[in-house]
Amino acid sequence: MMETTYQKPSAQGYYGKFGGAYIPEMLHRNVEELQSRYLDIMSDAAFQKEFRALLKDYVGRPTPLFYAKRLSKQFNTNIWLKREDLCHTGAHKINNTVGQILLAERLGKKRIIAETGAGQHGVATATVCALKGVECIVYMGEKDIERQAPNVARMKMLGAKVVPATSGSKTLKDATNEAIRDWINNPNDTHYIIGSVVGPHPYPDMVAKFQSVISEEMRWQLKEHTGTDLPTHVMACVGGGSNAAGAFYHFLDELSVQLIAVEAAGHGVNSGMSAATTQLGKPGILHGSKSLLMQTADGQVVEPHSISAGLDYPGIGPMHANLFDSGRGIFLSATDEEALAAAFEVSKLEGIIPALETAHAFAVLHNHPFKTDDQVIICLSGRGDKDLATYMNHL
């Protein structure tokens, strides 16, 4: 096998034992086209120029790296917030969709499909499709359509068609199944914009690369503020793992930096109502890649639970499975209740209402001690507007 690093998968898309492209033949031509072209397209100067210009002028990058004074005092350390919530559309998801829509354009695709959980990726996809005047279909679990109503309305206003996924747990996993089936049935004109670092190779690497702008900025921003570009810790919540992959990317091979990923424990890791994949999962195959997967002893996928639709997924990207397996990453989890409490705490202490997903990353500050001179960067992956209905029930 070819040499791999934490950052770079093998030619076949493996991070250690995890990754690959476990797809039916019906998807082969499209996936193979992506595999053979994504690196060339992404490294093309004209592509980079357009991508960077859109990130700057449309998305609003660079997003600030903000020293959270009151939060730092509360936890007796130094906490920096990477403000992905200030991206256009309110979360990091748009970094990836801007990249993939430019890629789709170069592949000559006229129709875009996507899955969404919290609706942030759906909104980010609908947004770039409106920008480019391309047809957009978003698959979303029926349960998520209910609990993330504002985002459903936004997608429709942006001109996207939202199709409910009614099978299984009616959440992100099932929306992803439906999107993949759509792609099988529309092999010629369609590009599938996956919203996280999951799916068959090259998606995990491609999405991680588009999101890596997060840690690229962190490094020079931290240096501007403190004189050094390496923090002691980087923290992020993990659903599929795209904001974490982006936040970790340029630190993956800097072994002094501790990488902390926070999963959703739902009602508690051992409650039977959880989405803490690294604690509950075993190696398995879902949505085209080998990774860690919550499943029964018979290999049927378990329906996860999290209060946050964006973390309500029984798998995790293969890069993260490798970080867990190798010990390079520290994987913690926060319950629904802890995440809710953290959302209220951060709102009051810093004047920033985080997304429920993001709140999980803050929740573990309570049980993971830091030293007074640590420099901790938390990826504030999104804002909480979409979760107001849930927050209002707990005011």
Partner: protein, 256 residues
Amino acid sequence: MSRIKDLFERKSNRVLNVYCTAGYPQLNSTLDVMKALQDNGADLIELGMPYSDPLADGPVIQHSSTIALANGMTIETLFAQLKDARKEINVPIILMGYMNPVLQYGFERFCKEAAAVGVDGLILPDLPEYEFETEYGAIIKANGLDFIFLVTPETSEERIKKLDSLSTGFLYAVSSSSTTGSDKNMTDVNAYLQKLKAMQLNNPVLVGFGIKDKQTFDTACAHANGAIIGTAYIKALEGTNNVAATTKAFLEGVLK
């Protein structure tokens, strides 16, 4: 000689392979379904191992998988059901399924036990050829099982040759780019099947996806060695309380 190879030496056209999800419609109907298929003209039987997330399947087969899982079907149960099947079933048996349940069972253990109960071949649509060549193919071969790859109208000629060279038993020609049970019409299928025929492949070719009645079966058989019926048979079984009669009526309609 493998039972599948033997079949194609005796019969090279209008070969009928019928798919049914194991444990559907009832947990213990698997053998009744197999007997009924054999008695009414099926040349091969393809048993689906139900999976919670069958990506390549449309709503009908998804639904049958959901029911089979709710009925309690597992690989272990299926092997127990098949233990004495060879006393009555002479036609080749193929297991079709997704990789994850097989990996959890243990790939080698799975192949060994499948062979022991008289299974002849495997179709695992999400096992890619790279992993087949580097890891799993040898285990499949060592246990004397055939392995059948799929090709589609989008598969390049070069790749068809490659997949044909890796397959034994037959090659599965998916009629159109779709999930199972889609109603995409089969008008373009002639050119595609003629192309496959002209390539003089090593393996016989069976056409699947969209074969549902006499007309579509005849169309497929005009340019291939036979065809595979799945969704239409599952639909016919829905709600039946007489598997034998339903199967007889269904296959008579196809083969008459």
